[in-house]
């Protein structure tokens, strides 16, 4: 069933983009995020050298014309490594949110819609995940799954789904009492139709905001895991493992830590600003004031 009209949603999307752009934080967030995305996508073109080539006689070189961000302890070009590392960060940010959505949203829908014992069981599991520090759970799962980009993003998603289940459950609890759900049931819709066509689409706004606001946390967890050496493994570049590998040389070669940290901070600031702007634009009360 093609119930949602595409043209309307395209129009809404463009209007939202305009509204985000019209805010100062939205504009800054969009520009910074676009900049990081550009770096990640065009890393092979923008990088002056290969991120893997070691030139041992050039190790721990300070920033210069030849090496704009300097080199690391194996003489690899830091700029190229940081640009390629942006890919890992963004991929983890986006895909671990997707993993968390795939786990958390159905659980939240089922718990909120059916209530009762099912809800209680899911609630206990959710609370268990919620009460542990997310980083600790991610650490445990990453250690269990083994290192590598794919495993890291699954580990982070598995550690993070509880929030999504919570958000969706709360939305469903209020939605299922709404008149139109009763009306749809009176018209002969079954539970699956009600959940998929009428409840889930009405949860999209808070879900979208929560997803965007969570991407920075996911990126930070990935960086932390890689810093500790159980995330993305060298020689594959990730901001976390570059910082980790630069830590012993903090005195002689502070740039190894400085540059990836700066990029990490910039990315997080950009995404947080963007997330804030999105959540404000999608909030009907604040939105009315903007239009």
């Amino acid at each position: 069933m093609n119930l949602i009209s595409k043209s309307y949603y395209a129009w809404r999307f463009l209007q939202n983009l305009k509204l985000i752009w019209s805010r100062k934080d939205g504009k800054a967030g969009m520009l910074i995020t676009a900049f990081i995305v550009l770096i990640a996508v065009a890393a092979p073109i923008l990088s002056p050298k290969s991120p893997y080539t070691q030139v041992l006689e050039d190790k721990l070189k300070p920033p210069s014309l030849q090496y704009p961000f300097g080199t690391d302890h194996l003489g690899r070009d830091l700029m190229s490594r940081i640009f390629h590392g942006a890919r890992a960060s963004l991929i983890v940010g986006v895909f671990s949110v997707l993993v968390a959505i795939v786990i958390g949203v159905p659980l939240g829908l089922i718990a909120g819609y059916y209530g009762g014992l099912i809800d209680q069981v899911i609630e206990v599991i959710t609370s268990a995940f919620w009460s542990f520090p997310t980083f600790l759970i991610a650490l445990a799962f990453a250690a269990a799954f083994g290192p590598g980009l794919q495993n890291v993003l699954i580990a982070i998603g598995v550690a993070w789904w509880a929030g999504f289940a919570r958000i969706v459950r709360g939305e469903v609890l209020s939605l299922r009492e709404r008149r139109f759900i009763e009306a749809v049931r009176c018209l002969g819709a079954n539970d699956a139709q009600i959940i998929v066509y009428h409840i889930l689409p009405n949860c999209i706004n808070p879900l979208l905001v929560y997803s965007i606001l969570n991407i920075p946390s996911m990126i930070l967890i990935e960086a932390s895991l890689s810093f500790l050496g159980i995330g993305i493994q060298p020689p594959h570049p990730s901001w976390g493992n570059i910082i980790g590998s630069g830590r012993p040389y903090l005195r002689e070669a502070p740039w190894i830590v400085m540059f990836p940290t700066a990029f990490l901070a910039l990315t997080l600031i950009g995404l947080i600003l963007l997330g804030d702007a999105v959540s404000n634009v999608l909030n009907p009360r604040l939105r009315r004031r903007m239009i």
Partner: protein, 322 residues
């Protein structure tokens, strides 16, 4: 006489709350014949809406239909499986509600909501056929310019328009019975009259039977052939419109009718029925109305009144007539 379209016998729908058992509907009898409009009237909390939800078997937990019989079109609905009920809801029995705008999913346009029902219950798949059907339904409920309006979202509709759309959705499957749960309560008076007029016309032209739920005597008098007066989950009086309105038998019905402000004649103050609805968790013994009844006798406190037939249709549950 042919068998009635809807026969509700001794229906009991109880809500099992932590505080106790709430008997929302307690032994209700109701008959809707083919091509007939029956009104259920009662105060808020008298079990009108729960009756409607029970007929469609969508009583929300902790509510449950405990006992009784609901025979619709010759079949007992209480013995149907959930799948069969889904076909009946919105198929042979449709329902419209009090608050039309919030009864429509805010994310979908009018035509999307209509096409969902048409696909589900009529099995049409051809886009142009569906569009034709949507326009036919919208013109049937007298929506001006259906071509334009079918692209509107619920928030763009006025209350009256939204109720027309709801009626169109309800009628999409050619139902035999339309349950209208206070369909005009939140609309202003001119729109109210238009919606009632529309329902009457649909009844006359298509032979649609309607079960009208309202707390408004005017609405019931305007539309219905027969009336059921509910009090605390029971039908205390039922009969033809004339019987009940011109010749009320139960003290409660009399009280209700005397409360309605009159246009003619001068009254110094509003009449009221003393007291309020009893606590449904702990209803009075015997006749549930006896604490408020001006004609209460000793027997009313102890024995539940039987159903007394005053004429062919006129039935009253009161000791005064035994």
């Amino acid at each position: 006489m042919s068998q009635p379209l809807l026969l509700v016998e001794d229906l009991k729908t109880y809500f099992y709350l932590p505080e106790g058992v709430l008997r929302a509907v307690d032994g209700l009898n109701l008959i809707v014949n083919r091509n007939e409009i029956v009104g259920i009237i009662g105060e808020s909390g008298s079990g009108k809406t729960v009756t409607a939800l029970s007929i469609l078997r969508i009583v929300p937990p902790p509510g449950r239909i405990v006992d009784g019989k609901i025979v619709f079109d010759g079949e007992n609905l209480l013995e149907k499986s959930e799948e069969e009920m889904m076909k009946i809801r919105g198929g042979k029995i449709s329902m419209i509600f009090q608050d039309p705008i919030s009864s429509l999913d805010p994310l979908y346009r009018v035509k999307d909501q209509l096409s969902e029902v048409i696909r589900m219950h009529r099995g049409l798949t051809d886009e142009s056929e569906i569009k034709e059907e949507i326009i036919r339904l919208l013109s049937m409920v007298k929506i001006p310019d259906p071509d334009r309006l079918m692209n509107a979202y619920p928030h763009e509709l006025s209350g009256g328009m939204a109720q027309r759309v709801m009626i169109a959705i309800a009628l999409a499957s050619n139902p035999l019975l339309l349950i209208a749960d206070e369909p005009t309560s939140n609309l202003d008076v001119t729109i109210q009259a238009q919606i009632l007029e529309l329902l009457r016309e649909l009844h006359e032209r298509r032979g649609l039977s309607i079960l009208m739920i309202s707390h408004n005597f005017g609405v019931i008098a305007e539309l219905c052939d027969k009336v059921v007066v509910m009090y605390c989950g029971e039908a205390i009086e039922s009969g033809s419109l004339i019987d009940v309105f011109e010749n009320p038998a139960h003290p409660y019905t009399k009280g209700l009718l005397s409360v309605v402000p009159k246009l003619h004649g001068v009254s110094k103050h509003f009449e009221t029925i003393p007291g309020s609805l009893p606590n449904p968790l702990n209803p009075p013994s015997g006749c549930k109305f006896h604490p408020r009844c001006p004609k209460a006798m000793n027997i009313c406190r102890k024995v539940k009144p039987p159903r007394c037939k005053l004429n062919r249709d006129h039935v009253v549950s009161c000791h005064l007539y035994t």
